[in-house]
């Protein structure tokens, strides 16, 4: 039961591929695997911390102002995350730029606070947030890896192809982000169709 709460964020309810939430950071910072990883971890951190706090306070927050309260809680942790990243690595802080601050308006986080943490116990909320956070990081890595390998011929800054490789620059540009995510969604749709067709075959 409890493992299920964690697992569903990874695959079945993956925030990016299935729910299509939090598109802005997903597309904007995935031009390299390192950036994608950093963004995913930062989001996961904010997600877990704010879910914990929302869950702890769920009986004290009046219903009318709950969204405003959630946003305040999230904004606080995003500020913490921003200073943390700045302390750990100035380079990553520069590469992510304003997008660290924009974690505040990532719909995944507010969505989890509203749909799960405000109704469930602390333990379950943490599990749920961790699952969603890992799922989000995984999705970002999927995009970042494809874009970095094709767009600059490297993976986590290690050369993948020889020096003769002509980088496919389009993939690191904004357009490439849309194309890569579109292609991933296409793959998922295709897999879902195949599965549905197989199920029908079995039952028929």
């Amino acid at each position: 039961m409890d493992t299920n709460t964690f697992i569903k964020g990874l695959w079945k309810d993956n925030p990016v591929f299935v729910q299509v939430l939090g598109m802005c950071p997903t597309l904007a910072v995935t031009n390299s695997a390192t950036n994608a990883m950093a963004m995913g971890l930062a989001t996961a951190f904010v997600l877990i911390m704010s879910s914990t706090l929302v869950s702890l306070l769920r009986n004290f927050i009046p219903k009318q102002v709950r969204i405003a309260t959630f946003i305040l809680i999230i904004a606080t942790f995003v500020t913490v995350a921003e200073y943390l990243i700045q302390a750990i690595s100035i380079d990553i802080h520069k590469a992510l730029g304003a997008f660290i601050a924009l974690i505040v308006v990532n719909c995944v986080i507010l969505g989890r606070a509203e749909a799960f943490a405000s109704k469930n116990s602390v333990g379950k909320s943490i599990l749920d947030a961790a699952g969603m956070g890992v799922g989000f990081t995984f999705a970002l890595l999927c995009l970042g890896a494809v874009r970095e390998i094709l767009g600059s011929g490297t993976f986590f800054e290690y050369q993948v192809f020889g020096h003769g490789y002509e980088p496919w620059v389009l993939m690191i540009l904004p357009g490439g982000g849309f194309f890569t995510l579109g292609a991933w969604l296409l793959l998922f749709n295709y897999m879902k169709e195949r599965k549905a067709a197989k199920m029908q075959e079995i039952s028929a």
Binding site: L27, A68, A101, V105, C107, P174, G177, F178, G182, L186
Partner: protein, 192 residues
């Protein structure tokens, strides 16, 4: 910082279009681009909220600098944007109930539109003065509206086109957005 006002406007509107180059406000871009009418009304509402919150963000930035508390920036920005949206909602409801009904759920959703928070953060980071901030907000709002309306136009045609079943839905919208984004890169020469 000595950029001409027209440069700031074109830069925010076309060259660095918020949706297609910065990936801000993708959620309404995908969610509300179903038909041209709703898309343009949504664009108008976003542009108005952008203008108001740009003015507020400028004031807040001055105030936070005076009391030397930059770490409060993000929290105060988001609170101001949330209350601006609420205020706009009340004003529209009072003076134009018809428009209020037409916008419906999209009005409160503007709060979580990252384009607005992004605008507030960018204008502060770029150190624009009051007039420059206003022009920047206008340009960004116009750019958002243009992108949204173009997308809605394409989607209206896409609905009647014969597309394979697998690509229908978000996948094809993202592909089209990618092509649009490439097209907008052609404006790069305008800004320099």
């Amino acid at each position: 910082m000595n950029e001409s006002l027209s440069y700031i406007f074109i830069n925010a509107c076309l060259v660095n279009n918020f949706v297609l180059a910065y990936f801000l406000g993708i959620c309404p871009f995908i969610g509300v681009s179903g038909n041209i009418g709703t898309a343009s009304r949504m664009g108008g509402a976003v542009m108005f909220v952008m203008l108001v919150s740009s003015i507020c963000a400028y004031g807040i930035h001055l105030m936070l600098e005076a009391i030397n508390a930059p770490f409060l920036q993000l929290i105060s920005f988001i609170v101001v944007i949330a209350s601006t949206v609420q205020l706009v909602e009340m004003i529209i409801k009072k003076f134009s109930p018809a428009l209020f009904r037409a916008l419906g759920i999209f009005l409160p959703l503007i709060t979580t539109n990252c384009a607005i928070l992004g605008l507030a953060l960018f204008q502060t980071a770029k150190g624009y003065n009051f007039i420059e901030s206003l022009v920047y907000a206008l340009g960004a709002g116009a750019g958002f509206t243009i992108a949204l309306v173009i997308m809605a136009g394409i989607r209206e045609d896409l609905d009647i086109a014969d597309t394979p079943k697998v690509v229908r839905g978000t996948a094809i919208i993202l592909m089209v957005a990618g092509i649009l984004s490439l097209t907008f890169m052609g404006f790069a020469g305008l800004g320099g």
